[in-house]
């Protein structure tokens, strides 16, 4: 009997044979969407550097992807990635990390990278909770949800990440759930190709921690919830705020062309070099 290999296996390190995620976790879906996007674009893993922070979601590229991977500290992957990209302007630099990592402790780096429009592709896995540390409230946890650190229900409001990053200046912003793997793949492809800061918010199920807090339990029930409550952005624009309460707006927020930081630097260096050459001739 021949055992066929997973078509994306060629993108992962040969010696890594198991993942660290819980059964039913959405991280696998997001990881496949990333690798499929790279595959469909026909890109080489040697053209990528993957940077991640700390949390379950940050384990997507490291240690699995057969590429240069930089597993950083909690909240800081975008700051590290900005240095990597400025040092290697010709590589695709992708950040993969969680909602807590990128919007709580690392929130400032997220909005500033969008403002700078530095050419990074950020896949932000939003499971609405701190998965790795045992189910604490995140800045993305829906108001009223009971978590281990909000035993009487969260009183705070949550971040609406995609429009927030769009407002901060990103060139490309999309949000999909793990119920939309094809759309997610398509948006990741666009994000990789975009010369500028691209954010793909991947709303994902954490059946273990979020499943417990929301009492939705299993991965299947969370996915059903995603299916039933997702509203396309074009439809949502025509809906009243009340009707949108509790809904997950999905789609693409921005897809624009604007001056990008690493290109600006390359151009500045070229200009200064020419200037100094002219100077020498005179």
């Amino acid at each position: 009997m021949s055992v066929s290999e997973h078509p994306l296996r060629k993108y992962t390190r040969r010696h890594i044979t198991r993942t660290t995620t819980c059964p039913g976790c959405g991280i696998g879906t997001v990881s496949q969407a990333i690798l499929r996007a790279i595959d469909e674009l026909g890109l080489d893993m040697d053209d990528f550097v993957f940077v991640s922070g700390i949390g379950c979601s940050a384990w997507i590229p490291s240690p699995f992807y057969a590429a240069d991977t930089l597993h950083t500290t909690h909240g800081r992957p975008i700051a590290f990635a900005t240095g990597v990209k400025l040092g290697l302007p010709d590589k695709n630099v992708m950040v993969v990390s969680g909602d807590g990592d990128l919007t709580a402790i690392g929130g400032n780096h997220l909005i500033h990278a969008a403002r700078r429009n530095v050419d990074l592709t950020v896949v932000l896995v939003n499971n609405g909770i701190y998965g790795m540390t045992g189910g604490q409230t995140a800045p993305t946890t829906p108001r009223g949800l009971t978590t281990i650190t909000s035993p009487y229900g969260t009183m705070e409001h949550h971040f609406d990440i995609a429009p927030m990053v769009a407002a901060a200046g990103a060139s490309f912003v999309a949000r999909w759930t793990t119920y939309h793997p094809r759309q997610m793949t398509r948006s990741i492809k666009k994000g990789i190709q975009k010369k500028g800061f691209a954010l793909i918010e991947a709303v994902s199920q954490c059946p273990v921690q979020y499943g417990k807090a929301s009492k939705l339990g299993s991965a299947v029930r969370i996915l059903e919830y995603f299916k039933e409550n997702s509203v396309r952005i074009d439809k949502a624009r025509a809906m009243e705020a009340e009707a949108l309460a509790g809904k997950i707006i999905v789609g693409e927020w921005v897809d624009i062309a604007k001056a990008e930081l690493t290109q600006e630097w390359t151009e500045l260096r070229r200009k200064l070099r020419e200037e100094s050459e002219c100077h020498k001739l005179i």
Partner: protein, 386 residues
């Protein structure tokens, strides 16, 4: 990316220490710097912003010092000679990720133009208050290298050296300047480019699998698998083996993860630990480092003029701590007066090495924020000898 033109400003200059630091970095081949404005370090970043793009480099004004040190580490892995520059409050913010640079053996230069603290303190007044925090401020056990310039000239010389040490040993190296020499103007001589010995990191050749290479934890310094060359480097600051692969269960790997980077510095310390003595046969020695060494030397000169037998020992390297050098001195002298521009940060370390062999005392500034008056030091020398 490196553009060689106008890299080394050979000649004699009359400039600030902070200017000299920037020129030292550029001369050493720095192509990436990130920083956040802070007195008394700002001039280094300001000047880097103007100079780096002219030599093919990049300057990032980051949103905070955490981002600055992270971006510099990222750029170092991208293959750049990278640095960041700040003062005490910025070092406090950087600490977690200084540990990251240590654990991942990342070459990095961190310039600390120190100011009076704690907290927001006094921005423009120099006080060597960060000496212990740069060595011990990040969590866990580790070892870094730190150099202490005493003049604008040394802000050039030791910045070049800091880059060379960072590249040679794959370790963060601190330049412990302060507001006084950062802002002081003196003659700075920049030698011809050919006279500067510039070191480059080693990069592994061959295998594209980290499992077939030793990328980390070699006491003789592993070649660094920089990004973008198809090496599939695996870099994590979590406990990892010599291939960079995470391992959180094997006690032998944990031991090696902590110890090897420390042993690497210890093994090679004789190659770079630098102290400078004058009148080495004197029976009383003043031990100091940084700006205050200038006062210590002046005080020793005054003392000798009055017939007292006094010499000085200056620590150009403060970390790794020059323990052997202090022991050697202690064996020869009767009195050792530790003169520091703080409340005694290296004193306990010096005392531990010297107190068995000679008398050891500490002298901080008469008024914190003002460099010791040589006469003030002299009166304490007399007290100690009497």
């Amino acid at each position: 990316m490196q553009d060689k033109r106008n890299r080394v400003l050979t000649g004699t200059h009359f400039e600030m220490g902070n200017w000299a630091c920037t020129e030292g970095a550029i001369a050493a081949g720095c192509t990436f710097a990130a920083g956040y404005p802070i007195t008394p370090a700002s001039e280094v970043a300001n000047h880097l912003a103007a100079r780096l793009p002219r030599v093919g480099g990049t300057f990032l004004q980051s949103e905070d010092e955490i981002s600055a040190v992270c971006a510099a580490i990222g750029a170092s892995w991208a293959g750049c000679k990278a640095m960041t520059v700040t003062s005490g409050p910025g070092i406090s913010l950087m600490q977690e990720n200084i540990g990251f640079a240590v654990a991942t053996e990342t070459p990095l230069v961190i310039v600390d133009v120190q100011r009076l603290g704690p907290s927001t303190g006094v921005p423009s007044v120099g006080l060597a208050g960060d000496i212990v925090q740069v060595a011990r401020g990040s969590h866990g056990d580790y070892q870094i290298i730190a150099l202490c310039p005493e003049s604008p000239q040394e802000m050039f010389d030791l910045t070049v050296q800091a880059f060379n040490l960072a590249e040679t040993y794959r370790v963060p190296v601190f330049l412990m300047a302060d507001g006084f020499i950062g802002h002081m103007r003196e003659q700075i001589v920049i030698p011809p480019e050919g006279e500067l010995a510039i070191k480059q990191r080693k990069i592994p050749a061959g295998s594209t699998s980290p499992l077939e290479r030793r990328d980390f934890q070699d006491v003789d310094v592993a070649p660094m698998p920089v990004f973008g060359r198809g090496l599939q480097a695996h870099v994590t600051s979590s406990c990892h083996d010599e291939h960079g692969m995470r391992n959180l269960s094997d006690p032998a790997v944990m031991h090696q993860y902590v110890m090897r980077p420390i042993e690497k510095i210890r093994k090679h310390r004789d190659e770079f630990v630098q102290v400078q003595a004058d009148h080495p046969e004197a029976k009383t020695a003043l031990v100091s480092y940084g700006t205050v060494s200038r006062s210590a030397r002046a005080a020793a000169r005054l003392a000798r003029r009055q017939g007292l037998d006094v010499g000085t020992l200056r620590l150009l390297t403060c970390w790794p701590f020059p323990d052997k050098e202090i022991r050697r001195l202690a064996a020869k002298v009767d009195n050792l007066l530790v003169v520091e521009n703080n409340t005694g940060q290296l004193y306990p370390y010096i005392k531990a090495e010297a107190a068995h062999a000679c008398r050891v005392a500490f002298l901080g500034p008469q008024t914190l924020g003002q460099i010791h008056d040589p006469e003030f030091i002299l009166s304490h020398i007399k007290e100690m000898i009497a």
